[in-house]
């Protein structure tokens, strides 16, 4: 039989045979020391129940329930306190994180304000004109100067919108600071009065041999503002498309519509000039006299010094084509004047100036039959680049082109063999000639050796010429043989050799449209002639 309250007896270290009555007494004794123990009270209640004392049992059962309730309430209160404490902590953190960015912002603002409040030191070697205080002071002075001018000269007006001069207020103020500023202002006003209502202005370069260029306002890039980088990049890309365009009217239309969209700024005049240069070249290639002159004028009106020589190159060539000898001569003289202008003012790189001398030589030879000026100009260009120790690729390209031009004059003048050979060796060793230029070089060399009774050497060059025509997929060149072909009459006495030289010139003339096979056929006929001698 199972002993009742065995677990309790073990817990309290009592013998198993201890009676329930003794167990109760022991429990009541324990209750004196620990009256709020619900388990003990419950155990006493159970003991009373086993002794059939139900009244006492109920009393202790109720007491156990009361004690348990009190403990539950105490636990709930403790939990409530812990929750309150946790909530307070969270509130504190939230407040801190909300205020932290504001505090940081205020701190940064305070730091910036403190830095900006410090006086700006002028950096060593910097431009004082860029100094904020100088600019502010200049603006104040400008206002004062203009007010004085306006008061003293009520007839003067100041307009800083798109004008022919397109000076910013700052530029205008600086010009006003010069000693003869007022006089200059009056002169400009006079000039403006003399112009017609179309808003005419002056181009950047004025040749002394021709009257002042009259430019329509829309042809002058005059809007204020800095160069727009994305416009520059876009127009560069567009130029690469228009560069090979054969439809000149299309180029003209494109320039017009782009101009209307962009309202060319003065700072972007080189882009406008670049596009006008394309149009001028295109119409020149078509030998459209009127349009070439029109776009050359627009090119000049764009006011970019880098294209002045281009203007006079095309006007010389097209006037010569139109049999306007006087016009061609004036344009050529202006070309030379422009070259001197850019050379004197050191506006451009040596390669650019050398190229202009090369063009000057080419014009003298092509249109004025002046071999000595041509040679002189070419040598001048060559000398500019030769004296530079470290040559860039562009310089080497220009030297290559000048040498080729010089070679043409050497063949026409039939210089002595050593001089010719020296030049030919330099050209061959440069490694900078395109396939098109190599064809010109071999044509000239073969003609030189033909007229100097060296048929075997001439045959080597003719073989190169013929072979290259077979290999190159497209013959691209820009060589004008007009002057050389004309000069053959005087340079080669032997009529048969002159005839062969003419055949070669026509075979390598890229402006004569013909199939490559036809070109090779003509070269082979000259080879046959030389082998038959």
């Amino acid at each position: 039989m199972k002993t009742p309250f065995l677990q309790l007896k073990k817990q309290w270290s009592l013998a198993e045979e201890t009676s329930i009555q003794d167990l109760l007494e022991h429990a009541l004794n324990k209750l004196n020391t620990n009256p709020n123990d619900p388990e003990l009270v419950y155990a006493i209640a159970e003991l009373y129940r086993h002794l059939d004392n139900n009244a006492e049992a109920d009393k202790f059962y109720k007491q156990a329930i009361d004690i348990t309730n009190q403990r539950t309430l105490q636990r709930a209160e403790a939990l409530e306190k812990r929750v309150d404490k946790k909530r307070n902590n969270i509130r504190l953190k939230l407040l801190l994180f909300t205020l932290l960015p504001i505090i940081t912002g205020l701190f940064i603002a305070a730091m910036i304000w403190s830095t900006l409040s410090k006086p700006e030191p002028l950096p060593k070697g910097s431009n004082p004109e860029k100094f904020a205080f100088t600019q502010w002071l200049a603006k104040q002075q400008m206002v004062e100067v203009m007010s004085t001018l306006q008061a003293e000269n009520p007839e003067l007006t100041f307009d800083f919108s798109r004008s022919a001069t397109a000076m910013s207020p700052m530029e205008f103020m600086q010009s006003m600071m010069q000693p003869d500023a007022l006089e200059k202002l009056r002169r400009d006003q006079e000039a403006a009065k003399n112009n017609n209502d179309d808003g005419e202005g002056k181009p950047a370069f004025q040749c002394s041999r021709e009257p002042a260029m009259r430019c329509a306002k829309r042809d002058i890039p005059s809007a204020p503002g800095e160069e727009r980088n994305e416009v520059v990049l876009l127009m560069d890309a567009y130029r690469s498309v228009l560069n090979t365009e054969k439809d000149c009217e299309k180029i003209e239309k494109s320039i017009e519509s782009i101009g209307q969209q962009l309202h060319w700024r003065k700072s972007e005049r080189n882009i406008k000039a670049d596009l006008e240069d394309l149009a001028t070249e295109c119409f020149y290639k078509q030998k459209n006299v009127e349009k070439t002159l029109e776009h050359a004028r627009k090119l000049q009106c764009s006011g970019d010094a880098g294209y002045i020589n281009s203007v006079y190159w095309y006007t010389t060539a097209i006037n010569h084509y139109a049999d306007n000898k006087a016009g061609a001569l004036t344009a050529y003289q202006c070309f030379q004047e422009a070259t001197k202008h850019i050379e004197k003012n050191e506006l451009f790189s040596p390669a650019y100036i050398a190229s202009r001398h090369r063009e000057s030589g080419a014009l003298a030879w092509l249109y004025f039959d002046d071999l000595s000026t041509a040679t002189e100009e070419l040598k001048k260009g060559r000398a500019i680049l030769k004296k530079i120790p470290k040559k860039t690729r562009i310089m080497q390209d220009v030297i290559g082109e000048i040498n080729l031009d010089l070679m043409e004059t050497y063949v026409t003048a039939n210089v002595d063999n050593d001089e010719f050979q020296e030049l030919l060796d330099e050209i061959n060793s440069s490694g900078r000639l395109t396939d098109g230029y190599k064809q010109i070089k071999d044509t000239l060399a073969s003609i030189y050796y033909m007229q100097n009774n060296q048929p075997n050497t001439a045959l080597i060059h003719l073989k190169n010429l013929s072979l290259r025509f077979k290999l190159i997929p497209e013959y691209v060149c820009g060589w004008d043989w007009t002057g050389f072909r004309r000069g053959l009459k005087d340079s080669i006495n032997d009529e048969r050799i002159r005839e062969q030289a003419t055949i070669l010139v026509d075979a390598t003339n890229c402006y004569i449209p013909q199939a490559t096979s036809k070109r090779i056929e003509q070269i082979q006929s000259v080879v046959k002639f030389l082998k038959g001698r």
Binding site: R228, N229, E230, V231, L233, L234, D236, A237, Y238, R239, S240, V241, T244, E245, K246, D247, K250, K253, S254, S257, I258, Q261, L262, H263, N428, L433, T434, D435, G436, K438, K441, D442, I460, K463, N464, L467, R468, K470, L471, I472, P473, E474, Y475, V476, A515, T516, S517
Partner: protein
């Protein structure tokens, strides 16, 4: 029985037939060895021709009207939509543009649904074929930007099939062509040669009966003495 069935005649017939076939094969082999094949090596070369740009994507080909294209781009550039290398709409067949100093103007093709399908070339009259027929072989060449990304619903999975078909059609009209592969990371772009050597658009595929085509059969060619 042995006398009734003799295989001698059959053996003769078979051996003669095989012998004749071997002779034919040897003759063909000799003939083939003497045959010269014309191979076109697609090397890019300098040209005086003007490029006409095409974009080929998702079995469709778009001919770019550069006048409209640049007019729209200019309009956006003046409205400052193109500043700071921002993407802007070219308002041209769903193309997006971007201007930067490395690639000039780049353009990204997105939706190609309104581009002509390359199969239109086979039709006698279609906008695509009309555009191709307008090209002048003495003045122009075609330059293709070919997408090679895979799109759903594309039979070839890219613009290559459209590019090849269009190029073959142009070749039959003696029009030269060049190309470059593009994708969304290396988009099609037009820039100035002065920027970079990559900004060069040249033909590599010669026109059909171009007068200037090379003679690859010439056995006598030698590069000796060529400077």
């Amino acid at each position: 029985m042995k006398d009734l069935i003799s295989l001698d005649s059959l053996t003769d017939i078979v051996s003669n037939s095989v012998g004749i076939l071997i002779i034919f094969a040897v003759i063909n082999l000799i003939h083939d060895n003497n045959k010269t094949y014309q191979l076109e090596i697609p090397l890019e070369h300098e040209t005086d021709l003007s490029p006409v740009f095409f974009i080929s994507k998702n079995d469709r080909v778009l001919v770019i009207d550069t006048d409209t294209f640049f007019a729209n781009a200019t309009s956006q550039a003046t409205s400052k939509a193109a500043i700071n290398k921002r993407l802007f709409s070219l308002e041209y067949f769903g193309l997006l543009g971007k201007i930067d100093d490395k690639k000039g103007i780049s353009f990204f093709a997105r939706d190609t649904s309104d581009w002509p399908e390359f199969k239109e070339i086979e039709k006698r009259s279609s906008p695509l074929r009309d555009s191709l027929d307008k090209l002048d072989p003495t003045k122009q060449f075609a330059y293709f930007f070919v997408y090679d990304n895979i799109e759903d619903g594309s039979s070839s999975g890219s613009g290559f099939e459209a590019f090849r078909k269009t190029r073959e059609y142009l070749k039959s009209r003696s029009i030269k062509s060049g190309w470059q592969p593009v994708n969304s990371e290396s988009p099609a772009n037009i820039c100035s040669r002065s920027f970079s050597r990559r900004c060069v658009y040249q033909p590599s595929y010669l026109g059909g009966d171009s007068s200037s085509s090379s003679n690859f059969n010439d056995k006598d060619k030698s590069a000796e003495n060529v400077q």
